[in-house]
Symmetry: C2
Amino acid sequence: MNIAERFKNIFEPELIQAIESMAEISIVKEGDVILEAGQTVRIIPILLKGILKITRIDDSGKELLLYYVHTNESCAMTFTCCMQQYPSEIRAVAETDVEFLAIPIGVMDEWLSRFPTWKSFVMRTIRNRFDELLNAIDQLAFQKLDERLVNYLKEKARATGSPLINISHEEIATEMASSREVISRLLKKLENDKKLLLYRNQIRLLKEL
Amino acid sequence: MNIAERFKNIFEPELIQAIESMAEISIVKEGDVILEAGQTVRIIPILLKGILKITRIDDSGKELLLYYVHTNESCAMTFTCCMQQYPSEIRAVAETDVEFLAIPIGVMDEWLSRFPTWKSFVMRTIRNRFDELLNAIDQLAFQKLDERLVNYLKEKARATGSPLINISHEEIATEMASSREVISRLLKKLENDKKLLLYRNQIRLLKEL
DNA sequence: ATATAATTGTGACCAAAGTCACAGTACGGT
DNA sequence: ACCGTACTGTGACTTTGGTCACAATTATAT
């Protein structure tokens, strides 16, 4: 699908033209790091295909999943970072193979005044990310680990569109800033409760979950 | 201090004029709720005096302090909420007596395109609030309660500009989504370690903290 | 095919945090 | 001065989650 076709419902024609003339298409493989914490933000990504995973890294290297960026979405952090050339606070990794439009950050300021649809897109994105960060905070502050795990699995399934999740217990533990043994035990309990099925490097969520 | 004087370094003259013609000044007392979770956002507040406390409320009523809004600052949530008239995700309470400019949300969209200094103010605010939410997430995900408590106390002292904090253990427990007994014990330990002094409804932070 | 590495399962133990119960203390109002 | 209430301190216990140790299983590479 070309850019004009894809965005004709959310961006005005002049903006689509501007995007076509300024943006480059980037393609990265699953697992590739798009943006490392601390790096300076150089482009605004708009996803054409695939899923980005946004995580927060602790000084000691521990990690926590914040949210996913889906097709036709962008990452709010880059908007605000790029306005003043701040370094990134987060890490963005390709959760699947990913194709995205890379828009140079220099146009941000001008587009914001010039294109109403860009302004709404930016504001909508920022709002969604705020909500997701608040959701992460809710989970951490108010939920126990077993509830967080169920939520994590459901989100993962929703993001990938499949109840079959390919991941090891170790990876889950990392993304939830917990430890492998604890996750293994909680998963086993969920399996005993007929909420899911466990395989090696794979989990099948059942409708009971 | 009048508005023109106060904002002459961050807002352009036309914007200051616009603010003067559109904004009302509101005065609220310590403890007053400016915005309740779920309420629709009707104004953008810019603080002239005092401190706002922004908290997140759980379904079950549990609470968590997110951040403070200081003089000359605004709250990013309202920016993004008001663009599309969403209900508020957070509660805003006057931590001290507060005086603020109430700007009707209708002007937001136009000002964003029309005044470069308003655009930077909005973006800077959003960026700061993102950072603060990320900080809250770091605390919850990676720090133990005793470290969080120390951090909480330092923030409180910084916000109010005094090492003498007027608060009960119960209130601290609420704002940290913990329980009173645990907070009492941790505070006692900090007192034994000569990091602070405990009084009734009052805590004095020592320089050793 | 076999060795090696990665993954999973589990028991035992520990540490952190929450809960319960209750006592003692300080404060505010009459 | 006295009473009722809010606040603080603390011991005992429970739950949750993290750590250690080690076994069993499955995948991968040579």
